[in-house]
């Protein structure tokens, strides 16, 4: 796989920046095509995928747990006075539920996941690249793309939706805590209000887009790490640019996917 090289200079000119931007887009596209070509070819390295799901996913639990509770808590506490002004505090559970399920839960979890995982993959593969470990794998007759890239991207694609569902539950729990603090709302009422306000069309697009976000986190980190050069500086660059590019792509694709889901479910 021949990917266009990125030119690193201390003060890049506009021409160099344009070239690097186009080279990144081209490189990422070719990398995606290679992924699609390789993902269905055995061996499937199930053990590696499971290991990465544990390392990349399960170990993200603490940070997303805190994020989940705080999203719900803050959202409920901020919204409460506004709704109170209109005498509409009864709508708080459904408002929080819809915001968290449709938008905040998937996007914030993906951004946190990108911060932790995309940079981690970028640094790990980048370090393997500059210390010739990827070359060593290749010369020993193993396809490093399949072993290193495919397994990680499959793992991130599968684990992010699960993390998002977990975050959504925690955000709702956080919102209930906030509601108890400001008004002694009955748990059964809160639960019923949440369940009644959610429809199929709310759940599916919210969760479905996290598969795309998970894929973005994995593929961007892997691309940046796999193509790293320039020693330890290159590893650092791979790590930081992974987060930047993955986060930007998550936001851009979120916009596109919201439009697509509104087209598919016009009643949303």
């Amino acid at each position: 796989m021949n990917l266009p090289p990125i030119k690193h200079t201390r003060r890049p000119t506009f021409k160099e920046m344009t070239y690097n931007f186009l080279a990144t887009i081209t490189g990422l596209t070719l990398f995606n095509i290679e992924f699609v070509k390789q993902v269905f070819i055995p061996p499937y390295e199930i053990g590696e995928i499971r290991k990465h799901m544990d390392e990349l996913g399960v170990k993200t639990f603490p940070i997303v747990s805190v994020t989940g509770i705080i999203i719900g808590l803050v959202l409920a506490m901020q919204t409460w006075p506004v709704l109170q002004r209109f005498g509409a505090t009864d709508f708080l559970p459904s408002m929080v539920a819809l915001s968290v399920i449709r938008e905040l839960g998937p996007v914030l979890t993906a951004l946190i996941f990108a911060g932790r995982v995309s940079s981690g993959i970028g640094a790990e593969l980048g370090s393997m690249r500059v210390t010739e470990q990827i070359d060593a794998m290749e010369v020993s007759g193993v396809n490093p793309f399949r072993y290193l890239v495919v397994t990680r991207v499959v793992a991130t694609t599968m684990i992010l939706p699960l993390l998002t569902i977990y975050v959504i539950f925690l955000a709702l729990a956080g919102a209930y805590i906030a509601v108890i603090i400001v008004e002694n709302m009955n748990f059964a009422y809160f639960q019923n209000a949440v369940v009644d306000s959610i429809q199929f069309g709310d759940l599916i697009p919210g969760i479905a887009k996290t598969f795309v976000f998970g894929f973005i986190v994995g593929i961007v980190g892997a691309y940046k790490g796999y193509t790293a050069d320039g020693g330890t500086e290159g590893v650092g660059r791979a790590s930081t640019t992974s987060v930047v590019v993955a986060s930007l792509l998550i936001l851009v694709f979120d916009m596109v996917l919201v439009k697509v889901s509104l087209w598919l479910w016009p009643t949303l």
Binding site: E124, S127, M128, T131, E132, Q133, D135, A136, M137, E138, V139, S140, G141, V142, N143, Y147
Partner: protein, 249 residues
């Protein structure tokens, strides 16, 4: 010496951008040959090794390994050829996330089918060959530079390759470790009957390991012959190179 051709490099040229690294380089390596490639830093020695194993593609010329044109092989065919080649990288390139045992098991489990018992025997025997049997459960970060080279060597030879490529096997080691590694490589060559190509600028290492040599200069093969002929050459550049003097041209 047998006549079977193992590596045939024919008029290989390679450039990176505007910088010409190799220019019309031709070398033949026969079975059981031990060839050393000398040259200054940046003279294209490692590039030549990478062209042999297919990590780099020459701009022109051909590289045949085991009578197969490396540039024309499909990924799967190239992978089959590579299974018969061992490569010791300059920095050993041990997989950081794996223990020594897992490093050695990796090429075996991915390319061959061994039972658990056979795998354990193979790993333990190979580690004994490099005198590091007790390092089996260590992580690469716990090993010294010399130990890493030995483990890298063990990982390269565990698949019983027909051809071994060494990229600066003694760089970064103290003189005693350097001599130890060189003698270990020579013993393995005799024991396992491998053909080898060694890239180095360590003359002591080369004298221990190899019997033939080429010298790369200005992107081309400037000398080809036996090591004593090379070291006793009247060429002022070679004289200076081997007496470690600063070359003024």
């Amino acid at each position: 010496m047998a006549d079977t051709m193992i590596v045939q490099i024919d008029k290989v040229s390679k450039s990176f951008g505007k910088q010409q690294i190799l220019k019309d380089v031709s070398v033949d390596v026969f079975e059981a040959d031990n060839l050393v490639v000398f040259g200054q830093s940046g003279s294209g020695k490692s590039v030549l090794l990478k062209c042999i194993i297919g990590l780099l593609t020459p701009d022109s010329g051909t590289v045949h390994v085991f009578n197969k044109n490396i540039q024309k092989l499909k990924a799967k065919e190239l992978s089959e050829v590579r299974k018969q080649i061992g490569f010791l990288f300059q920095g050993a390139a041990l997989y950081d996330s794996m223990s020594v045992r897992e490093n050695l098991e990796f090429p075996l489990t991915k390319n061959f089918e061994f039972s658990k018992g056979e795998l354990d025997d193979k790993v333990e025997n190979t580690l004994e060959l490099v005198n590091l049997g007790d390092a089996i459960d260590k992580m690469p970060s716990e090993l010294s530079g010399g130990m890493r080279k030995r483990i890298g060597l063990a990982r390269s030879i565990i698949t019983d390759p027909r051809l071994m490529l060494y990229d600066e096997p003694t760089t970064g080691l103290d003189p005693i470790s350097s001599k130890d590694i060189s003698e270990l490589i020579r013993n393995l060559q005799h024991e396992l009957k491998m053909t080898s190509i060694v890239v180095t600028h360590d003359l002591i290492c080369a004298e221990i390991i190899a019997d033939k040599a080429i010298f790369l200069r200005d992107s081309m093969v400037a000398f080809e012959g036996k090591i004593p002929e090379l070291t006793k050459s009247d060429d002022p550049f070679l004289k200076n190179f081997f007496s470690n003097e600063i070359i003024k041209e």
